[in-house]
Symmetry: none
DNA sequence: GGATGGTGTGAACACCGTGTTATCCGCACA
DNA sequence: TGTGCGGATAACACGGTGTTCACACCATCC
């Protein structure tokens, strides 16, 4: 009855565009029997980083709840006569779940009925998968707009705590007193801990536009960050330079002559990582 | 260019997009030229107790804002080539406004484009007015549903009390004498105590539409609020500026003239802030 | 080991963001 | 039609912030 989610290799921490818009991958379930249609839809779903799950029949509502879906597409023809009752049941039990009916020929009365029952949209088959995806996006967008602001995850690294809701980083209760740009920079770096980020990529994602040739802004801001990190959290190194490439964020205690086990582990990890990256 | 609303009694207070929208009669505007279509639609709109307003062209966005609409139906054919730019403009300025494109023959690409721009639905003409109304209902339902339950708890912060039922804030029995906007602003801020809110987000939620670039309204109103807070509750600081970001509401007693060290103040501030935020 | 080019560092400077005040406009009310 | 209020807009001052530059330093390559 159920199939594992396809697609959706969850990237560690990727914000496609604006620094503030974080969207968890949408979980989409489709009740449909047309394998060709499912395939072309999945292609587009995957392209958006969503996850697609195919349901072959009327899955009990309790199971739907457990799936934590972001949207549901139903072909009423697959379910036959009980399809309407099922639609009603689902919409009643999960009013927050966006539901799109995507099925064959229909009458105005049927479409109106589905919409009144609680469906968000009705798209007649045959249809273009791109339109289906666009309609799903529109509905989800409408729902998210009124929803409470998404809670941004707090990042922890070494001694510091990065609070997106405060636009600030802390060491214990003490603020690092970062400016907006500095904060965006450290959030980007810490959000991709262990990865080497190129200057151009950093600039593109923090500043929002392409870096001019010869621009040293990233270097200067890294210096400011290091300075404030050193001041608030001495004994730790966070930002590492990769010559000719860019920077890598990785909290490492500045171990004295006595090396602890943790330090060794970290060193090993970063060493192997460095090898991989630099080749 | 404009026509008076037909049907429906004008409600004294309506908050179409403000965060406290009750089920006030929906204000619907239609950009369309087909009088026959308008008539049959209006019949159904009236039957639901909504208000319908007919627009004969691309009304400036500022006027749309003033109309406090609950939904907008557009026939792109009426507007001609600039219709697309207008659609984009409206959707950008009023993301909370449900927009349905209801127009003649179209291609998949056009429909997808409209939906991506920000339209909520596309319904091809000729269409049944009942379906149009049902689709409007579905979209409005989705928007309302995602919104958190209308809760208006009395907020306490420092010396002040915010009473949503009075649309006013008090210090003991004395009113701060806030205007409507000032009240909405302090309610939003105090409702997110400890969180830094960006200007754009504040504007979006208090004014109901997107903030124009360079608009200083939020700053001016924050100043007015600070002034009234200072007048009624000296010895407390409530609204804190976060340079390059926005504002944060957090009641903090202005400690006496004894301590003049910035570091101490900062430590106290962040410590108390952290406590409150973490709860 | 020298040459070359990338990076760290500090400071000067221009610009942008914010506080503040004043003015204008639209609207409700008398 | 006049008056008062609320809100939008503009203008100015000032301080924080970002950019740019110069120079020192260091890694890499030959």
């Amino acid at each position: 009855m159920k199939t594992a989610y396809t697609a959706g290799a969850t990237s560690p921490q990727d914000e496609s565009h604006a620094p503030g818009s974080r969207t968890a991958p949408l979980r989409l379930a489709i009740v449909d029997g047309d394998s060709g249609f499912l395939q072309v839809v999945e292609k587009r779903v995957r392209a958006r980083g969503w996850q697609q799950r195919v349901l072959t029949g009327a899955v009990p509502v309790e199971e739907l709840v457990g799936m934590r879906l972001g949207a549901l597409v139903i072909d009423l023809a697959v379910l036959g006569a009980p399809g309407w009752a099922y639609l009603e049941q689902v919409c009643a039990a999960l009013p927050a779940l966006p539901v799109i009916v995507c099925t064959g020929p229909s009458t105005v009365a049927q479409r109106v009925r589905a919409l009144r029952i609680g469906a968000d949209d009705w798209l007649g088959k045959p249809c273009h998968p791109e339109e289906l995806v666009a309609r799903i996006e529109a509905i989800v967008r409408r729902g998210r707009l009124a929803a409470p602001p998404v809670e941004r995850p707090v990042l922890e690294a070494g001694e510091i705590t990065i609070r997106p809701d405060q636009f600030q980083a802390f060491v214990g209760p003490r603020s690092l007193d970062l400016t907006r740009r500095e904060f965006e920079l450290i959030r980007l770096l810490a959000g991709n801990t262990g990865q080497v980020l190129e200057r151009e990529a950093i600039y593109q994602r923090v500043w929002g536009y392409a870096m001019a040739h010869g621009d040293r802004s990233v270097d200067v801001f890294v210096r400011k960050l290091r300075q404030k990190l050193e001041r608030s959290s001495p004994g730790w190194r966070y930002i590492h330079t990769h010559f000719g490439v860019g920077y890598r964020f990785a909290p490492e205690p500045v171990d004295g002559p006595s090396s602890s086990v943790d330090a060794l582990d970290l060193d090993d990890a970063t060493a192997s990582l460095r090898e991989r990256v630099l080749q």
